[in-house]
Symmetry: C2
Subunit: 338 residues, 2 copies
DNA sequence: GAATTTTACGAAAACGGTTTCGTGTTGATA
DNA sequence: TATCAACACGAAACCGTTTTCGTAAAATTC
């Protein structure tokens, strides 16, 4: 087993000083051609690579970025990570992924863990629990220390930092408008508690109904606790309420809803049409395939990474923060197109 | 903005030496109660936290583990990461995720990037390209340097290290046997090129047919390039070959196959039953829901993490490697149960 | 009161690099 | 031949810790 070789080893072996070796390997003008050749050849032979940790300590730059997300089994977050990773890698950064598991405490622990020098900046999306508690001290703590932060998707006004979001309100508005335009009048909504994005989508839903001159009927709105997929509640909802269209704030609700509706003998989209949020594989491969609002997670991740790295590498800390609003796309599939 | 405080700051501020501060904060017996109290109070007040990078350099331990996977949008890999992350976090480790994107070159680059001190050990699953090339020098390089490595799922005999896999051959065998036992005789297989796991599953398929006394018919096997989801090829396959059951080496093939079969007016599972590999949300929410071989990615990840961390923290390097074989579970759903 | 042991702390090395500055040697210049 | 710049390299500081070892001063022992 060949252990990693250091500058010290090379210096000792070649009878020169550590500084000479360091300079020679950076092709410094200070060192003679001869010496450089010797040192470089030796280094190549023994496959010398500088130790990242030592460089990090010296530069106070780790070239790592921390990504904290609530959950990784969600396709959306997965695509964001992918976008972050791809972009970060191109710029020589590694990605440390931490999962808060929708828990406030884990979010705090993860942030503290990484904030002590392990990373140059954070990209994060809030856990539901954090949004419910409305407690952002751990995040302010981090930004106060001057660690750059970019929040995406689930964000809050309480923290000043760069943000990347889609306009959830407007996306829902457009989806509902589309349903109205195609002649639907009894449009239901299945949403979730305590989630900034769900709330925004709900607002868009109401606004679209209002603008469309459709009276608001609270019975058409089913609010479920966060993704518990309470099958009985969904079943009961469709048993007791009648509608000709449904907007769901996530894929799972929509897929499950379609199933219940189909079991009742109704046809999709003839009798009821469905639109879901977050276009993932489920939507694409569902039967019928589900029309969905695509959030373009990968671009979101790439943009977040770009904003973060630009800030990290930008010496002068301008206290100006941007919020980038990305376009969503309504992808129409069998669940709305006859 | 309060910058991070260091031992040096505390020492200067309190008129003691750095070593005294360091010891006081570790509650060393060497330091008087008085001094300790002063220092600890001061440290608490200014929220002192030791710098991870400095500690890493000193200890030659980063408390980071690198995970290299081919793809993150695959549900299976996602669950593995989750398992790794959960377990690693419990033991105080962070997880650096790198995506090889099924590319040999990216796999090499990622490994080299992390191998220079950024991590204490690797957990990885091979990219298709690496398996096709059969070139594992970058991996051997890493293990030669004494960096612990655990491979999972897509592994190779060429590299000596700890491994965690499921018995793909046996899992496929059992799935096919189940189909035979339920009276199916024309059992098709949709598999993939150049993938260790796919090959093993194919072996199990043949073996089960042989043991079941069913003649092998190569026409019943469709081999697709890696997950291109060649829709035309799948369509053509079902148009020209007739079968009463299909085993697919991944979810997508199965879901897409079911759709084609349904469009032809055949009933699932009455006319054709389906079993897929890798139980993910698609299987669960498909219509009909898809019976699948569950690989228990989360346990796989947790076990891999445990093996890795045990090895990392174990000083004496016993050159003995284990291969842990996990049980898979056939989850029966509507696509096989009448 | 001298010798010895504790007590309480500081100096310094080490981890593996980078970088500034100092210096002995060489060759050119006046 | 004295002066000086250029060249080629080394010493040392620094990043932020931990840890070993040395040592004054205080406390204890005889």
């Amino acid at each position: 087993m060949r252990r990693k070789i250091t500058l010290k080893h090379i210096a000792r072996e070649l009878g020169v000083s550590i500084s000479t070796v360091s300079k020679a390997l950076k092709n410094s003008e200070e060192i003679s051609r001869d010496t450089k050749d010797r040192i470089q050849a030796f280094a190549k032979l023994y496959n010398y690579k500088p130790n990242n940790i030592a460089i990090s300590l010296k530069n106070k730059r780790t070239k790592n970025i921390g990504v904290i997300i609530p959950n990784i089994v969600h396709h959306f977050f997965t695509t964001v990570i992918r976008g972050v990773e791809k972009y970060a890698n191109e710029r020589g950064y590694n990605v440390i992924v931490c999962l808060s598991d929708e828990s406030f405490d884990k979010e705090v622990i993860n942030m503290e863990m990484l904030a002590n020098g392990s990373i140059d900046g954070f990209i994060m999306s809030l856990s539901t629990e954090t949004q419910a508690k409305n407690d952002y001290n751990h995040i302010k703590e981090v930004t106060n220390q001057g660690i750059p932060l970019v929040m995406f998707d689930r964000v809050t006004d309480e923290v000043e930092c760069d943000k990347v979001i889609i306009d959830d309100r407007d996306s829902a508005y457009k989806a509902v408008k589309k349903l109205i335009d195609s002649g639907r009048r009894n449009i239901a909504l299945i949403n979730t508690e305590n989630l900034s994005v769900s709330n925004a989508r709900t607002e868009g839903y109401y606004q679209a109904l209002q603008d469309g001159g459709i009276p608001i009927n609270k019975d058409l709105v089913l609010t479920l606790p966060f993704e518990s997929i309470d099958e009985a509640a969904i079943q009961h909802f469709f048993d007791t309420v009648s509608m000709d269209a449904v907007l769901c704030v996530n894929e799972i609700f929509a897929i499950y809803g379609m199933r219940v509706v189909q079991k009742k003998g109704l046809k999709i989209p003839k009798d009821v049409s469905f639109i879901g949020f977050t276009d993932g594989p489920l939507s694409k491969y569902a039967n019928p395939s589900l029309s969905a609002v695509a959030q373009h997670g990968e671009s979101m991740g790439a943009i977040a990474a770009q904003m973060l790295i630009d800030k990290v590498e930008n010496e002068e800390e301008d206290e100006v923060y941007r919020t980038e609003i990305l376009d969503s796309t309504l992808i129409e599939r069998e669940s709305t197109i006859n």
